[in-house]
């Protein structure tokens, strides 16, 4: 999460020393946002803000002019002052919009404006304690029930918040403005993904499994961190030993959102390096009927005239072909909150030839590099056994990446990387991943699988399985929900760039989300039986 950092303007003791602790009021001006130290929000410009802290030594606070990082919680009301509830809802229009302004520079609240359906309504806030609030009936904007989706855009000074009403039960992809920033949300009946476009070259920030209403990329919300540092999926581009830093700040433009007959598709594009005419694209395809996301990343080294470099010598120096050559390397990084503080719990699996590999570092801040073998099985799985959280990555078996993994105090990562290659203008590189996440999984030298479930619209439970199996394994599955068992054949589908993906969907019309789920896929049993997940899910 991001936080505000300020410059102190004054420090005032507000209570006497009691039990070696003192309460102080610190006045400051916003300086930047942490951790990237980017610009503070425009609405805080020249504003003197105040917080209170308890200290044992006044010198911890510092003096006027000093750096004052705020915690995520302390920062929230200044970074995201304007909020509308609900921010996102499904199916039915909310009766009212609850607007709150948690900070304003004056005693008197400002005007707000709401725009929807071409109508614009202006109003003033009421003040309750330190918060300005307003409630507005949504009926004011529509004379009849509108077709969804619908957006209500609330503006106030330079702040903006949006309430989006989406159709229920319809797979879709759409741009949303959430309190923490802009995301593209892609959803089917299994998952709800939030894809960051404004940074990280388009990465996956949230992966909600709808059946259990859990986010596989949950993160410690109270710590200052880069958006996908501790949890999320991001792709990497290499022009040398280290991943390109440009990807971390790269904003992507949306070049299309498409509903197809049986899938939603999102296209993002960004310019990674203008000087080298280097572009990158992401296509995220979410099929309606499977717990699967197909993620395709490309890096293009374009031909064409480079923009002039301001300091370049006028005289053209002699060149050899190597001068036009560029190293192109690529990889990705999936990061998850680790279980049991990295000492045990979370682990990852992959396989090559007939070898199953399991990896978990017991030491923190440790990079594990597997340079002696490639993931020729074409799959890798990350397991968090305590929270029943499994994510399966499938990729091309014919040119597989090498496995790298990093263990942080709160993070475990899967960081495969492909071998770099020389490239010249006109060349490109890329990879395609098929990713599935669920609550049960199995691994063996013969393959890996993941299963998840979702509520059926008219009651009952639908279970889905995604697997990659050795060719010799019988493509069948036995799925158990409570005491109900179904045997099903697996469907083999060729996903271009990934290869054969085995899948099955099984309905349990009498099933309930509260029953434990398990499966045997091919000859691979579940690593742990499923557990009751309550009655969550929409």
């Amino acid at each position: 999460m991001t936080a505000l950092s300020g410059k102190i303007t004054a420090v005032r003791a507000i209570s006497g020393e009691q039990q070696a602790k003192q309460r102080v009021e610190i006045s400051f001006k916003a300086a930047c946002r942490l951790p990237a130290r980017t610009q503070a929000p425009e609405w805080l410009k020249d504003q003197v803000l105040k917080i209170e802290r308890e200290v044992t030594d006044l010198r911890e606070v510092g003096d006027p002019g000093d750096y004052l990082p705020l915690s995520v919680e302390e920062s929230s009301r200044w970074l995201y002052p304007l909020q509308v509830a609900p921010a996102v809802c499904y199916g039915a229009m909310p009766e009212n919009l609850a607007i709150s302004l948690r900070w304003w520079k004056d005693e008197k609240g400002p005007e707000y404006q709401i725009l929807a359906n071409g109508r614009r309504i202006t109003g003033t806030f009421d003040k309750t304690g330190n918060v300005f609030t307003a409630n507005l009936p949504t009926a004011s904007f529509f004379s009849s029930a509108p077709a969804l989706p619908v957006e209500f855009t609330v503006t106030c000074d330079k702040m903006k918040a949006v309430c989006t009403v989406l159709p229920a039960g319809t797979p879709y992809a759409r741009r949303l403005l959430l309190p923490a920033g802009e995301v593209y949300r892609v959803e089917n009946s299994w998952y709800r993904l939030d894809i960051l476009a404004g940074k990280e070259g388009g990465g996956i920030a949230a992966w909600h499994e709808r059946g259990r209403e859990i986010d596989h990329f949950q993160r410690p919300e109270h710590l200052i961190e880069r958006p996908l540092e501790m949890a999320g999926h991001l792709d990497r581009f290499y022009q040398g030993w280290r991943p390109s830093e440009k990807m971390t700040t790269l904003a992507m433009s949306c070049t299309g959102i498409r509903r197809e007959q049986d899938a939603a598709r999102l296209f993002l594009e960004g310019v990674l390096d203008e000087g080298q005419i280097l572009r990158t694209t992401v296509t995220c395809l979410v099929p309606d009927d499977l717990p699967l996301v197909v993620w395709q990343r490309e890096f293009h080294f374009h031909t064409g005239k480079k923009p002039p470099e301001p300091d370049k010598q006028k005289e053209e120096l002699p060149k050899e072909p190597i001068d036009e050559m560029m190293l192109m390397g690529m990889g990705f990084r999936g990061a998850w909150l680790t279980e049991r503080n990295g000492a045990s719990g979370s682990r990852m699996f992959s396989a090559y030839r007939d070898q199953l590999v399991t990896l978990r570092s017991a030491e923190v801040n440790r990079m594990l590099r597997c340079n002696g073998w490639r993931m020729s099985s074409g799959w890798a799985m990350v397991e968090h056994p305590e929270r029943h959280d499994y994510t399966l990555y499938l990729f091309d078996r014919h040119r597989p990446p090498f496995l790298y993994s990093w263990a942080g105090a709160q993070t475990i990562t899967l960081e495969p990387a492909w071998l770099p290659a020389p490239a010249r203008a006109g060349d490109s590189c890329g990879f395609t991943l098929a990713i599935s996440a669920g609550e049960v999984g199995g691994v063996s030298p013969n393959g890996g699988w993941v299963a998840c479930r979702a509520a059926l619209p008219d009651g009952g439970v639908r279970c889905g399985i995604i697997a990659r199996l050795h060719d010799a394994v019988e493509p069948t599955a036995r799925v158990t929900l409570g005491d109900m068992e179904r045997a099903v054949p697996l469907t083999l589908t060729r996903v271009l760039g990934v290869g054969m993906v085995a899948s099955a969907v099984v309905d349990f019309p009498a099933g309930m989300l509260s029953l434990p789920l398990s499966a045997v896929v091919g000859d691979i049993p579940a690593r742990r039986p499923g557990v009751a997940v309550g009655t969550g899910g929409r």
Binding site: A3, D57, E60, V61, D66, S71, N365
Partner: protein, 415 residues
């Protein structure tokens, strides 16, 4: 016999520098400040990666060292403040990955043979110095489990355990806890200490280390220590990193509080201290630290509970670090800490087992306490014999180990 003549000493004290957005200042800009300070103070101030390095020149007395240190700190502070920068003197930082040391150079030595023999004699005392100087209880993602993460993790391989050397079969060495470095400046360098936060501590500590090494230099022995003594040193090194001055070391096979050992080392250095113009009475801060078993790391750890976020912790601690006497003041009122018993063999095994996850390369177990091959392999065999780990060998991955959790290999389906 006097291995050191004339008797001199110095320090390389690495200090990070931060701006008022909390960013560490990089090498190129630090070079400018180092140049200005070197020119003005006529001391070989330099940089080491992203740290400003105070190199104190050649000192022959406590008073001279202290005076130069005060002059450097005051001038550096003023020069940096012109650019709204602050020094961050500590062994580690909650956000930055660099580690900082306060190396002590002891001169003047040109006899490398004697220097190597002295290394073999001095290494057993290095954990005691590490405990006294412990000042790195936090690293990115880690806090509080060790009082010197820098020593525990070898300062990114910038300070490794001493390897016992035979002068007849030696090449030059670099980067160990203590080594003769006559190929450069004619000194024996003690590299194990964390970068200090208190300049008063640095002045007392550097003089103490120098006097102790000088004293040892008057009785250099030819015999080489054996494996048992070497193992004792490595376990002591781990214990010192973990517990600082609360540590109990193993001393000739018997448990002994590190503060007692340090007290004895101070007493043994009386004559050598006198040559440097000091006596134990001139080192009151160290005496108080020993009496209370409180090191600089304990001071830093008092902030942990109130600043969970590393950025907030770095800012609060950084502001305290501006005050050169802040640790000294803390120490004056700090409650004494209790000693922690020396770990038994089961605890040593457990520390090794903790280094093993799944598919862990067997060499990672070496990093638990840096035992040499026969001892480290014996521990692996013992853990395997007890059914605590499994081993797997493949040409592609080499020998890898996996911990067995509650009687089940983690590769099996859990119960």
């Amino acid at each position: 016999m006097d291995t050191f003549s004339p008797r001199t000493f110095s320090t390389d004290w690495e200090v990070l520098v931060f701006d008022r957005l909390g960013r560490a200042v990089g090498t190129e800009k630090l070079l400018a400040f180092a140049g200005a300070l070197r020119d003005e103070l006529d001391l070989p101030v330099t940089i080491d990666w992203n740290a400003l390095e105070y190199t104190a020149g050649i000192n022959t007395s406590f008073a001279q060292f202290r005076e130069r240190l005060w002059r450097f700190t005051e001038r550096a502070e003023q020069l940096l403040r012109e650019y709204e920068l602050d020094l961050y003197p500590a062994g580690t930082h909650p956000v930055e990955r660099m580690t900082q040391a306060g190396h002590i150079h002891v001169g003047t030595i040109t006899d490398e043979t004697a220097g190597i023999r002295l290394e073999n004699q001095l290494f057993r005392y290095m954990p005691a110095f590490a405990a006294l100087a412990a000042n790195s209880p936090v690293m990115p993602g880690l806090r509080g489990q060790y009082k010197s993460y820098r020593v525990r993790y070898l300062a990114n391989y910038d300070v490794t355990p001493v390897a016992i050397r035979d002068p007849q079969c030696s090449q030059q060495s670099w980067g160990t806890d203590a080594s003769a470095k006559v190929y450069g400046v004619p000194t024996l360098e003690v590299r194990i200490p964390d970068g200090p936060s208190s300049r008063c501590f640095l002045a007392e500590f550097a003089t103490f280390v120098a006097a102790f090494v000088h004293q040892q230099g008057t009785k250099v022995r030819e015999e080489q220590p054996g494996p048992a003594e070497y193992r004792e040193y490595l376990v002591n090194r781990w214990v010192a990193a973990k517990y600082g001055l609360q540590a109990t070391l193993s001393w000739n096979g018997e448990p002994r509080p590190v503060v007692e050992i340090l007290g004895e080392m101070l007493d043994d250095s009386t004559d050598a201290l006198a040559i440097l113009g000091a006596s134990r009475a001139d080192l009151p801060l160290i005496d108080r630290m020993l009496a209370r078993r409180v090191c600089q790391a304990d001071w830093g750890m008092t902030l942990f509970a109130r600043y969970e976020d590393p950025y907030l912790l770095a800012a609060a601690f950084g502001k305290l670090l501006r005050h050169w006497d802040a640790f000294d003041e803390y120490l004056a009122t700090a409650a004494p800490l209790e000693p922690v018993p020396f770990p038994d063999e089961e605890a040593i095994l457990a520390a090794h087992l903790e280094s093993i996850g799944e598919g862990t390369h067997f060499y990672s177990t070496r990093e638990a306490m840096y035992f040499p091959p026969p001892e480290a392999d014996a521990i692996i065999a013992l853990l395997e014999g007890r059914g605590a780990i499994t081993r797997e060998l493949s040409p592609e991955r080499g020998l890898v180990l996996s911990r067995i959790d509650d009687g089940h290999t983690l590769l099996e389906e859990a119960p």
